[in-house]
């Protein structure tokens, strides 16, 4: 069973991502901001997919993706899917350069997110 981490400062959004992924038979973990996400991923090598918001306090999603790229976690197979209200091409390019595998603009369609995460976890 794949372990997925949802990094978003909105409890509502984390809850809705959980509901969208409920049919996927995943083990789900949550983090409330970028720094929390970094700590939890570093502490748990079993996490294989990260669903990552961009605009968050303490550390934003782009910075977190870049940190995980630098510390080698992305190279070890962590798949990052950005899930954000942002859709600017420059931000997408930064995330892509940091090793992110997908970008979804909120509000998302639950079936679309599930399909994307299933593809990443396969």
């Amino acid at each position: 069973m794949s372990k997925i981490i949802i990094v978003d400062d909105s409890a509502t959004m984390r809850s809705q991502v959980r509901q969208a992924l409920a049919a996927g038979n995943f083990q789900l973990v949550e983090a409330v901001d970028g720094q929390d996400g970094l700590d939890k991923v570093n502490a748990d090598p079993d996490i294989s997919v990260m669903i990552l918001d961009v605009n968050m306090p303490r550390m934003n999603g782009i910075e977190l993706a870049e940190a995980l790229s630098k510390n080698g976690r992305v190279a070890k197979g962590l798949k990052i899917v950005m899930l954000t209200t942002e859709g600017h091409a420059d931000l997408i390019q930064r995330a892509k350069a940091a090793g992110a595998k997908g970008w979804i603009v909120k509000p998302f369609k639950p079936d679309l997110l599930l399909a994307a995460v299933q593809k990443m976890a396969a």
Partner: protein
């Protein structure tokens, strides 16, 4: 020159906006949870409904349709066996009537023989009378033979009476058997009509259950699609709350009369970026 904003005014607005945000977030969470529960209950109900109607409409072992088929087959077999038994009884009745007729004919022959014997006794007595004393013993024998032939004739008459009484009784039996045969044929026809009606009803039931199952699937798909749309609406509500919170942060920083924060410092990452045609819009996805 415009006056600087009143610090208390901003604090009061900030508290009120914060309350609105908290209420909004609570409502969004509660709606999301309720929506998920509604979909789960709907899925559970449709599953139960499909299970129930599936049992009624199925054609496998233990189903109504299968049980009706078994009942019909058993009734058909019983009617066939009954028909064979009735035909056998009818044949037996015919043979008994024929045998009774033969007995009557035999009794008539015996009666003829007894009459001839009586005539012979009468002639014997005449001839014995002519012989005088020498013929006396023949007269005694002739009398005994006459008595014997009369006894045979009486028994024969009795047999004839009995066979005559037996014949109409046997004809009644045969008539009853024929009547039973006719009733069985009627029952076979009625049974066929009932079987056809039951089969038609069973087919209608199966079609109705198939329609119900399909309708359940369709309604469930509609509920899931609508709940998906509602979840998107809830996300939008959440996004609005997040943006309000950032505006509130900006307002608070102005109210503190401190250096205004740069939008990027509070999460407006794309504010300073130039517009781009490659940007993604709400709901869009790109996998790299």
């Amino acid at each position: 020159m415009p006056q600087a904003p009143d610090q208390n005014f901003h604090a009061v607005v900030g508290v009120e906006v914060e309350k609105v945000l908290q209420d909004s977030e609570y409502a969004t969470l509660a709606l999301g949870a309720n929506l998920s529960e509604i979909v789960a209950k709907a899925e559970e109900f449709v599953e139960q409904l499909q299970g129930s109607v599936g049992v009624i409409g199925s054609s496998g072992e233990g189903s109504i349709s299968h049980t009706l088929d078994l009942q019909t087959a058993a009734t058909d077999a019983f009617v066939r066996d009954l028909g064979v038994v009735i035909a056998d009884n009818s044949n037996i009745a015919d043979r008994v009537i024929e045998t009774t007729g033969n007995v009557s004919e035999a009794a008539q022959a015996v009666s003829d023989v007894a009459s001839a014997a009586r005539m012979l006794c009468f002639n014997t007595k005449i001839e014995a009378g002519r012989l005088g004393d020498l013929g006396r013993p023949f007269i005694v024998i002739a009398d005994q033979m006459r008595e014997l032939s009369e006894a045979i004739a009486q028994s024969n008459d009795r047999i004839s009476l009995l066979t005559a009484a037996l014949t109409p009784l046997l004809k009644e039996v045969k008539s009853s058997v024929h009547s039973l045969q006719g009733r069985t044929s009627e029952f076979t026809v009625q049974n066929g009509e009932h079987r056809e009606a039951i089969q038609t009803m069973s087919r209608k039931l199966q079609n109705a259950t198939a329609d119900t199952i399909a309708a359940g699937d369709e309604k469930l798909a509609e509920i899931i699609a609508r709940s998906g749309d509602s979840l998107v609406a809830l996300q939008t509500q959440d996004i609005v709350s997040q943006r309000l919170r950032k505006i509130l942060t900006l307002v608070a920083s102005l109210a503190d009369n401190a250096d205004a924060k740069h939008p990027q410092d509070i999460g407006f990452l794309s504010e300073e970026l130039p517009p781009s045609e490659d940007s993604l819009n709400a709901g869009e996805m790109e996998l790299f």
